[in-house]
């Protein structure tokens, strides 16, 4: 204690948004155990805490990838061209709910949902319209699709080939992360075990046929958005990654044959240093997992490459212009954390999908960070800061304890079946909401600095006509196709699903024969049954 009287602090306890308590001050004692070579390494050196590339953004900026998709394939295609004209460098497709659940637009369960939260896709004809005029050998495409990821990947390949591109030249990502669906996002078709089998088939197909394709994007985003803390997001995401690597090895592949094409997707929330620490810990942990646990020999297998999206859940409906500032803070943390690509949310997304004006501000936010802020001039500028290093260690310790627990339960597939991560997240989310109600956590404009009446902002409306015309289109494609070929393709697919054969090849043939997404997923449902979640509150 010093002789001076310490000024009284504003609060009794300071903590991150994830409720990690923060000490009054950090100093040399907090990093005394840190060994530079062992724990940090220069950027581009194992364990990559400081970044996977030696020069980071001095060589290449992150990919500015804005997630988009709504209404019909024509509507979304127009938005893609708009984004490409304004300097976006990769596409990212959002699909509507029926597509995510493997239903065609004319299915009874699709009522009212067609084209609402993303683009409606029923057959390869929709995918051809979606990417019309896009140079698919140069622009990379990320598709947020999971349960029917194998169908969408097949559709992308067939659409590209029919447009004259070669499959080997296609670059992009399918999300394909079913474990996080069962944990958090909750769009599924069949139960966890058969879902893992489809993923194995995709990994093998991707490794053979699509050298530039990231078959799985191991995603913490939805886990965080569902209410997880930062360390839970980190832990559950890496534990999911471990399960996929095991699945690839069990499919008979050498770990270094497929691990370099695994990529990650994280959330970036408001708590600036906690997020930066999370990204740094993630790289270090994954490098060690791949090298020590799985014996990977290729440095590229040790790299944790990741996409980031700013936290949708942090946006407020109240005083929506303030969201521009939240997104800027989050985007800055993602860049200081060394992200490979970034989506910045738009200010109006608590109301609806964003308008073009709102999307442009979000993209400009990234461009200002890239070209005006100067933070890109040197890799990991916060490396060595007492607080950042101490917090990075804490993220690793907390997440490591969770991973150990999941290993003890028998791995992530089993943990999901037991509802373990689901319960942890529900608990954390309820605790956070209570802290907000008590004003222990302040949300500007929501529980403090409230204004009574606000002028409504203009939002994007989806024309209900989209549903009608999409239904007409899928029925027309079914009516005009060679029914014999479609039927044979479906039979071949069913035989492959029932056997141990790789399902990707018959899916590609079915897609080429204009079999619809819903028809293909009906085969999955017939063979494996539909997943029903035990309702946990």
């Amino acid at each position: 204690m010093s002789d001076h009287q310490q000024p009284k602090e504003r609060r009794e306890r300071f903590s991150t948004i994830s409720d990690l308590e923060i000490d009054p001050l950090y100093g040399p004692a907090d990093v005394a155990g840190l060994d530079y070579t062992r724990d940090l390494g220069d950027p581009g050196q194992y364990p990559y805490t400081r970044g996977i590339h030696p020069t980071m953004y001095r060589s290449r900026l992150w990919t500015m990838r804005q997630f988009a998709g709504f209404g019909s394939a024509e509507d979304s295609n127009r938005r893609f061209h708009y984004l490409l004209e304004h300097g976006t460098t990769g596409l990212s497709v959002a699909f509507d709910m029926p597509t995510l659940m493997g239903y065609d637009s004319d299915h009874a369960r699709s009522l009212g949902e067609v084209g609402r939260e993303g683009v409606a896709v029923d057959t390869v004809e929709d995918v051809k319209v979606l990417f019309a005029g896009v140079p698919l050998d140069r622009v990379t495409t990320s598709m947020t699709i999971n349960a029917p990821a194998n169908v969408l990947l097949a559709m992308y390949v067939v659409a590209a080939e029919e447009a004259g591109f070669r499959r080997g030249d296609l670059g992009g990502t399918t999300q394909t992360d079913m474990l996080k669906e069962f944990i958090a996002q909750k769009e599924w078709i069949v139960p966890p075990a058969p879902s893992m089998r489809f993923i194995q088939d995709m990994l093998v197909f991707g490794t053979r046929e699509l050298p530039r394709w990231n078959v799985i994007s191991i995603s913490g985003y939805h886990i965080r958005e569902a209410g997880a803390t930062a360390s839970q997001e980190l832990a559950f995401t890496l534990a999911d990654g471990i399960a996929y690597v095991q699945a690839g090895i069990e499919a008979g592949m050498d770990v270094d044959a497929f691990a370099p094409r695994l990529s990650f997707f994280f959330d970036c929330h408001n708590d600036f240093f906690e997020e930066i620490a999370k990204f740094r810990a993630a790289r270090r942990m994954w490098a060690r997992i791949m090298r020590e646990r799985f014996g990977a020999k290729e440095p590229r297998s040790w790299w944790l490459r990741f996409h980031t999206q700013t936290a949708g859940v942090s946006l407020t409906a109240q005083q929506p212009m303030s969201n521009v500032v939240r997104v800027a803070v989050q985007a800055l943390a993602a860049v200081l954390g060394g992200t490979q690509s970034l989506h910045t949310n738009s200010m109006d997304e608590t109301y609806a999908l964003p308008t073009e004006e709102a999307v442009r501000v979000a993209l400009r936010t990234q461009q200002i960070i890239a070209h005006e802020s100067g933070v890109v001039n040197t890799p990991d500028p916060l490396g060595g800061a007492y607080f950042v290093e101490a917090l990075t260690d804490r993220m690793e310790a907390e997440a490591g304890a969770y991973i150990k627990k999941i290993d003890e339960l028998g791995g992530m597939v089993r943990a999901v079946e037991l509802g373990f991560p689901q319960r942890e997240i529900a608990e954390a989310s309820f605790r956070f909401q209570q802290a907000v109600e008590r004003k222990e956590k302040v949300i500007v404009g929501v529980n403090e600095f409230v204004v009574p009446e606000e002028a409504p902002i203009s939002t994007l409306r989806i024309d209900p006509e989209v549903e009608r015309s999409q239904i007409a289109r899928v029925r027309r494609v079914r009516a005009e196709r060679d029914e014999g070929r479609a039927g044979r393709a479906l039979d071949a697919l069913k035989r492959a699903v029932e056997s141990k054969d790789n399902t990707m090849y018959p899916i590609v043939e079915a897609v080429r024969a204009r079999v619809s997404l819903g028809e293909i997923c009906d085969v999955y449902r017939a063979v494996y049954g539909e997943y029903r979640e035990p309702a946990i509150i």
Binding site: M101, E113, G445, I537
Partner: protein
């Protein structure tokens, strides 16, 4: 407490899987002394109404984040009326633009809670507006 007898079915109609809000609200209502039955995800309006009738619910809370509320909320109200359960109070929340609130209320949805609503507000509203069926609110 008088809330103890009130039964609420919390449901997620439609295909979206965003159940954070539904679960937090379900838990807050339960902690406030109501009986809460959570249906789980991906319910059709028919499934929600069947659950409400079977559980003898006094109220149904709906949560949608996919934009399908204009189709699905009124459908639940209509089906409840068809089953002779038109006095079950229907309330909802989610990503719902302000301009949709008035048409939803006109269609028979008693209250719509938009993003940022506090749990306390929802609990208080249920306490003030939901009575055991057959008892006038």
């Amino acid at each position: 407490m008088d809330g103890a007898r009130i039964r609420i079915v919390m449901a997620k109609p439609g295909l979206d899987g965003h159940d954070r809000g539904a679960k937090v609200v379900a838990r807050a209502l339960r902690d406030a002394g109501f009986e809460v039955i959570y249906t789980g995800l991906h319910q059709t309006p028919e499934m929600v109404v069947t659950a409400a009738v079977q559980e003898d619910a006094d109220a149904v809370g709906l949560s949608i984040l996919s934009g399908a509320h204009m189709t699905l909320f009124p459908r639940v109200v209509q089906l409840l009326r068809e089953k002779g359960a038109g006095d079950v109070v229907v309330f909802g929340g989610g990503i719902i633009p302000e301009e949709d609130v008035a048409p939803l209320k006109a269609a028979g949805v008693a209250e719509v809670f938009t993003p940022g609503t506090s749990l306390e507000t929802i609990v208080r509203w249920v306490r003030d507006h939901v009575r055991p069926r057959g008892v006038r609110a």
